[in-house]
Symmetry: C2
Subunit: 238 residues, 2 copies
């Protein structure tokens, strides 16, 4: 079992780097897979390979959580799953509302990855009255006018926006007004929110454009470079 040695890192508990936070879910996924195969312990090298990161980086990431490894052995899988889950706040229930039940919103509602962690879809909302009452993924679509009461009644703090871009800011304002403090935005718009509200965006179009950039560079390198120059900076009139 876990060594259970209460060796606190004293003056550090807070201030986990953002980059580390973004990788914790990755480690958690790999660890969950190991757990399901009843693997008792794992080394930083093995786990890093499974998560697709550098092993030193992984060890440093874990060091921010405390010293949960055993030298010469590795990390206790179950214990680490618990520690990371707790750190990410997945040991509690997070009600979520999805706004905009079109193509994407419906797909999100059907996504199993929601419930697998502590996330629970509290409601599906749409402005289209003709959708109201219709079942999507077993849940009835409710009208957007119910937003405020639903958020309040369910203590929803996370909202997912899957409306057209033009409606995203308005929906955001209503969500924030109702008490939501974290937003995941799929609409291609820059949202403005007050301090204290977190926004993360998922933008397919941007991802594709980044891929295209690198793709173009690859193509340019393989064929004879037709670029007019190498690395000379522009014009420097003296």
């Amino acid at each position: 079992m876990a060594t259970g040695r209460s060796h606190r890192p004293a003056t550090r508990s807070r201030g986990i780097p953002e980059a580390t936070v973004a990788r914790l879910p990755l480690y958690l996924r790999a660890l969950t897979a190991l757990s399901e195969r009843s693997v008792p312990t794992v080394s930083s090298e093995e786990l890093a390979a499974a998560a697709g990161v550098n092993s030193a980086k992984l060890r440093k990431d874990f060091s921010y959580l405390g010293s949960y490894g055993t030298r010469g052995v590795g990390y206790d899988v179950e214990y680490l799953v618990y520690q990371i889950s707790r750190e990410l706040g997945l040991t509690q229930d997070w009600p979520v509302v999805i706004v905009g039940i079109g193509n994407l919103g419906a797909a999100l509602a059907n996504y199993g990855g929601f419930a697998s962690r502590g996330f629970r879809v509290a409601a599906l909302l749409d402005a289209d009255a003709s959708l109201a009452g219709r079942l999507v993924a077993g849940l009835p679509v409710r009208h957007i006018d119910e937003l405020e009461s639903i958020v309040a009644d369910n203590q929803v703090s996370i909202g997912v926006i899957a409306t057209p871009a033009g409606a995203a800011q308005e929906v955001t304002d209503r969500l924030v007004g109702a008490g939501v403090t974290s937003i995941l935005n799929f609409a291609p718009t820059v949202l403005s929110v007050p301090d204290g509200v977190d926004v993360r965006k998922v933008d397919l179009s941007i991802e594709l454009q980044i891929l295209a950039f690198h793709e173009q560079r690859k193509a340019g390198e393989t064929e004879g470079r037709q670029e007019p120059d190498g690395d000379v900076p522009a014009v420097m009139p003296a």
Copy 2:
């Protein structure tokens, strides 16, 4: 200084920083909106506000592309749209295949943001034979066995994966084998690919977990006390 000839010029020659590349699509979107309103020029301050970034950062980003601004005036909107489009490779056509036409794949196929830039859906592929021939977003779903010939015939270099996690690596291997060199992965798995192949991932579950982390921190702070430096309002695993 140093001799400057080290064996590590990887991404330096033409050297637009990766962080800059990731923001160019954002600028492009804001500029396109201005262009549609027939705005002739824009200052770095205005454009930065529209894109939600710092104006100095924006100017530095543009400086990597060359000097396209006019001091005292700003940037010519149309010209900048063209320059960024060219830099991102959007002046050419990028055929894309989507693999896995389930809930998410169908939503992606219906997404208008594809065609709006240079991206064209060359084919929709799925392993489910009963889907073959069915029209999704006006395109017939083709069987996964046609992958290799479709990729070759259409010179597809970008693939989008929307299959279950278990099938993602196998699909990746086939895509890469057929000649695809850029992959956008929606399945929650770490993909391994040979050098020269770019992979970007979109992972809803990870985004939610990151939001949950910050959400938990906010909740802990408001209950406990405003903390000037480091120590924690102990989170007890009860």
